[in-house]
């Protein structure tokens, strides 16, 4: 089936975001725990973690895994507050 309008527009979005140097999924995995804790604490993202933020905007699988981590971390924090 040919690519749909939505799929073509998503490809254009990705091309617009593409950088010459990007981290891959394994490198993202090594850094995403720190990134998630920074975000959860409301701290600004430092330079070393901007690559994670960018990778999550490009990679649907890592984004899905990050959202799952956020669910777990959110509840971990709720439990710690009790």
């Amino acid at each position: 089936m040919p690519m749909s309008k939505h799929e073509i527009e998503e490809l254009m979005r990705l091309i617009g975001l593409t950088k010459d140097s990007e981290i891959n999924c394994e490198q993202c995995l090594a850094l995403v725990a720190e990134f998630a804790e920074q975000e959860l604490a409301g701290r600004s993202i430092h330079d070393g973690l901007e690559a994670v933020e960018h990778h999550l905007s490009i990679c649907p699988e890592c984004r899905e895994e990050y959202e799952a981590l956020q669910r777990a971390l959110g509840e971990m924090e709720d439990e710690a507050d009790k």
């Binding site: 040919p2 309008k5 971990m76």
Partner: protein
């Protein structure tokens, strides 16, 4: 027992009761965290979670030296368990779908993304960008880059693309990244910068 990062690493690096205790505590935490993380997957059951946690404990012990202490140990361990779980779930969802099925006929037709609701100038700009992109896809991308990019845009997970190509997720990411770079540079050579592309397709 509450442990800080150093205690986790120390206990998991030992033999005997300390290791057993740490593994038992880690197992319980991962089971609890995975249930929360996968709460939007209705068909995930206890047996699936137990299997994933078992695999995760092995992977975590293998990678213990890679833990740099930049986050809580349990957060890091949970990211590994989530990756194993999600990879497994994607494999189950896509196990009967071949790469050929996904990419056969999956070509890029610029006319599909021309929006008749736009003004004539915007339509022309969109069409020019898309025609340029089609030319780059046909002339600059390798067969593998084209296949990986098309499959990904059709929603096939990278792990699954990798499985069919006899490769791995990082290699597939490199294929699609290289494809995107070629497309971006091709568009830049035709005078379209990233901001032009985003503006033309913002609607």
């Amino acid at each position: 027992m509450r442990r800080d990062n150093d205690n986790w690493i120390a206990d998991l690096s030992r033999d005997g009761p300390k290791l057993d205790g740490a593994l038992s505590d880690l197992r319980k935490t991962l089971v609890r965290n995975l249930h929360k993380a996968l709460s939007n997957h209705s068909h995930v059951d206890d047996s699936f979670v137990e299997d994933v946690v078992q695999d995760s404990l092995v992977r975590i012990l293998d990678r213990l030296e890679q833990f740099a202490g930049r986050s809580q140990f349990l957060t890091w361990a949970t990211t590994i368990a989530i990756r194993i779980a999600m990879t497994d779930l994607r494999r189950q969802r896509w196990r009967d779908v071949s790469l050929d099925q996904v990419v056969s006929d999956a070509d890029f037709r610029p006319e599909r993304a021309v929006d008749n609701n736009l003004g004539p100038d915007e339509q022309i700009e969109r069409k020019t960008i898309l025609d340029t992109m089609q030319a780059v896809i046909q002339t600059e991308l390798t067969e593998k880059q084209r296949t990986a990019l098309l499959a990904e845009m059709k929603g096939m997970p990278q792990d699954e693309i990798a499985r069919h190509l006899g490769s791995n997720r990082n290699a597939v990411y490199k294929l699609t990244h290289d494809a995107r770079k070629k497309l971006k540079h091709g568009l830049e050579a035709a005078g379209y910068l990233a901001e032009d592309i985003q503006a033309a397709f913002a609607n």
